[in-house]
């Protein structure tokens, strides 16, 4: 490579040109003149005309929300969902508290206790969606694929609490019965070739 290309620092010769920007007014009189000029030039109506023209033509390119909605990718991270086990319809959450720990905006809280079968039971679970930044760490850290993100991004409501209820996030039992629960494919999900990568532990039986 020849060094001339580097040594030629005259950019103007290579298709570059200096944009001729008007100097900013520095004194008060100059500023006043600019305001008057801009006010009476009618730049606004140029834009308004474009809108009006396209409206009359009915040549619309945007999505007609809320009648129309864009399809959402399977890895989209909106309001959380709590999944159930395929085998038993029981809740997957074991109450390990990792989501609570990893949550960087500290918006997950859970209360646990020992239940009558000596198992850990989650008595209450909340996510403060007003603080949640939908980073997806909770879904990624969950060892049971219990907490995942869903596609429900519409969070307008009079009460933030509408979205933090565990029951609301949990897959409805009817959906479960109909085998219609969708697995989340985003953060924390099992990769398609997981089996091949696992080293097996020897077992004596």
């Amino acid at each position: 490579m020849k060094m001339e290309a580097f040594n030629d620092r005259n950019v103007a010769d290579n298709g570059y040109f200096l944009v001729d920007i008007e100097d900013y007014p520095t004194d008060g009189w100059g500023k006043f003149k600019r305001v008057v000029r801009r006010s009476f030039k009618g730049e606004l109506f140029v834009g308004l005309w474009v809108v009006l023209r396209e409206m009359i033509k009915f040549d619309i390119h945007t999505v007609q929300y809320p009648e129309e909605k864009m399809p959402i990718g399977p890895r989209y991270r909106a309001v959380h969902e709590m999944k159930r086990l395929w085998e038993s319809d029981a809740e997957r959450c074991i109450g390990c508290g990792l989501c609570e720990k990893i949550c960087i905006s500290d918006c997950i809280r859970m209360d646990t206790k020992i239940d009558e079968n000596s198992r850990k039971e989650v008595t209450e679970y909340t996510i403060n969606l007003g603080r949640c930044i939908f980073c997806g760490y909770c879904a990624e850290v969950c060892p049971e694929l219990a907490i995942t993100h869903g596609g429900e991004y519409e969070q307008a409501s009079e009460q933030r609490e509408h979205f933090v209820d565990y029951e609301y996030m949990l897959t409805p039992i009817d959906t479960m019965k109909a085998k219609a629960q969708k697995e989340f494919e985003g953060f924390g999900a099992i990769t398609p070739h997981e089996d091949e990568r696992v080293k097996k532990t020897p077992l004596a039986y």
Partner: protein, 828 residues
Amino acid sequence: MSKITINIDGKEIQTQEGAYILNAARANDIFIPAICYLTRCSPTLACRICLVEADGKQVYACNAKAKDGMNITTSTETIEKERRAIMEVYDVNHPLQCGVCDQSGECELQNYTLEIGVDSQSYSVKDVDRSSHDWGHLHYDPGLCIVCERCVTACKDMIGDNSLKTIARGADPLNADYKAEMPKDAYAMWNKLNKSVIGLTNGTDVLDCTSCGECAAVCPVGALVDTQFMYKSNAWELKQVPATCGHCSAGCQITYDIKHASIDNPEDKIYRVMNEWNYVSLCGAGRYGFDYQNATATKDEAAFEKAIEAFKKADTIAFTSTITNEEAYLLQKMKEKFGYKLVNNEAKAFQTFLANYSEISGTKLYSSDLEKVHNSNFVVSIGSALKTDNPNARYALNNSMTVNKGAGLYFHPLKDPIIEGLGKSIMTVNHAPLQEEVALYLILDLFGDKTKLPSTIVEYLASFHSQKTITIQETVKEKVIEIVQEVKVNEETGEEEEIEVEKSKMVSKKVAKDVEVDDNKLLEILSADAKFMEVLEKNLKKKTTFELMVGPDLYTHPNAKNIARLVALVEKYSAFSVTMIPTLTNSLGVALLCELDDEKGAYTVAYNTDGDYVLSGLGDGDLDMPAINQQEGTLTSINKRVNPTNAAVVYNGYELNDIANALGLEAENVIDYTVELPISVGFKSEEFDNLPNHYENDGTEVRGYVLENVAVDVSDDESVDKFSEDKLEGSIIYLANPVRQFTEFTNKTSNLDEVSGIYMSEEFLSKSDFNEGDTVKVKTTNGELTANVVSDNKITGDIVVLPTFDKKLNSEALFEAYRFNSASIQKV
């Protein structure tokens, strides 16, 4: 013990001669992996992971003693192989549900598995049924257990209950090929592990111990957990508040682990109590009795106004010693400013006892502490029901016997199976009440330097000795010569012939023999065992450090003054150093800080006790006060240490300081007084915020500061009175609490559920006509009470025990001052 220099991984370090390599390394921030070793206990050698190479030889760092100039390598290729194999073995069949394990990441198995980098498993064995056990306050899951035996070691070497042991697992033997394939130590460790799990010594599945929970605290995995804490919270959610336990005078270092109570209630709640279990061991009250806070208190201005009025009207403040040093100092300031009388009988008795002791000893305080008792090898306890008065004193006694090959001598009227169960080297003498003096005279007689003791005392002691002739059965070994016929081949002729051979044989023979022996009348008075002297002589072999612990029975004894002087004489003229067990949490602090009066005046404001106007941390008085877990301040412990404690739970009411401020004293917080604590009695001028509260890696206690043992004037008069021959007639009652209870504060907690009543031993119940649950009336010359009989298997013998932890019972009313009294007990 001299300093030696050893070299670990190229680093020259100084250590004590005879210290274990592991401890030397830890003290110098050198990491050697170790699972089964507990500081202050004897090495268990279960995990074998602490392998190191010392001068080219593989040794276990936890039980190999450092020698001068030793060269130690903590990691070689073979050692790494061993460690890796050991960790793989520990992971065999270990459940992977770490998410629902109560250890929640504070797990040594997890830590070492990751540290050593176990990423694959080479070993397997068929698992057996390892279902969990409910042991009351503990929950044991053998599935999680790695059988490091730390629980067994702690229970045996520190606590002394000996409630846990290893039992058979019932597993298949290991695959024989492993022996050749595996590293040697890993195989040996696995072979042992595969044969055992933890079980109870009593052979049942019902745990019956003093319920300290230390085993659960030391468990490296989640196998042994406190039932009350199960699945309540993950460890990482809990914030640790460093504090000092407020239940007894031991002043143990604890942390209150707090977190918001629930999603709905953001207020902090104590979930559990943790301790630095390598350096301090808690009792059941300290560990489980944490929720005694005065939760409902509010700033009730009307009540506060009334309190101020009451203080203006009062001439006496009565209080108990369950207060901080700052509050005690504040009360003293109020006395100085407004002339109140300060009444606290239990602290007053202790104060007087200390003062009488000082007259001879020349120091304001006793010379020793529990730390020294831990490190001694001959411990005598007089006048204290150790297991309930101060559990840590019992641990110290037990620890000195198990780890230092020590022996103990326990004088107390109440028969105590827990103390007797500490081991073979504890001798118990159950003397009659009021004879604590005799016990002290006996100590003087046995251990006192007769050449230096005042001659009157020597003569007095000699008057109890006489010579008596007893017939003893002696086993004598005799040489007996026998003539035996033997068949032998004649070497010359080659024929067999019979010859007579003389053979000598040693035969033991029993002979009756009359011997002159020294007869010590004191032993008879104390009703000591006939073989007392014989056993004592055996126990005293190779003993070098002598400790005497004296307890609250002595402070209220009718001859307390004489006893205090005797204690001082024992210290002065024998090898013993003395530790006194303060009656309540801060009795020592109160005794040092307050000038106490004997009699109450006309109108009494009471703090945590009874009076005309009651301030109470229990929430049952006229004005609420904070409990110790809601306060900042310092507590003076038995170890003469001023330990800081912090508020774990929020308190919304008024404090003593608010009242003092309203009366004209000025301090923003009560801890502003910490710096003012008087130097003249041994305190230091330290700001509260500068007081540390932790242990160093080498076990150094960095908590608050140690009181200076101020010198006082010595009197030349060393005379002591002869012991009185007073006796208590009839049924004897004793004022002591059951295990895990100390005061009304422990009674208030939700986890300590001891039933209050009149405690009788199973032995006494079976031979008397009382039954458990009977309502009986106990009557003494001082008063009477009616309550239910409770059977207590932690005592034996005939003495009936009345507790102080239940205010409703008001047991104190039955006693003069001394903790024993004679009483008539009748069924109602």
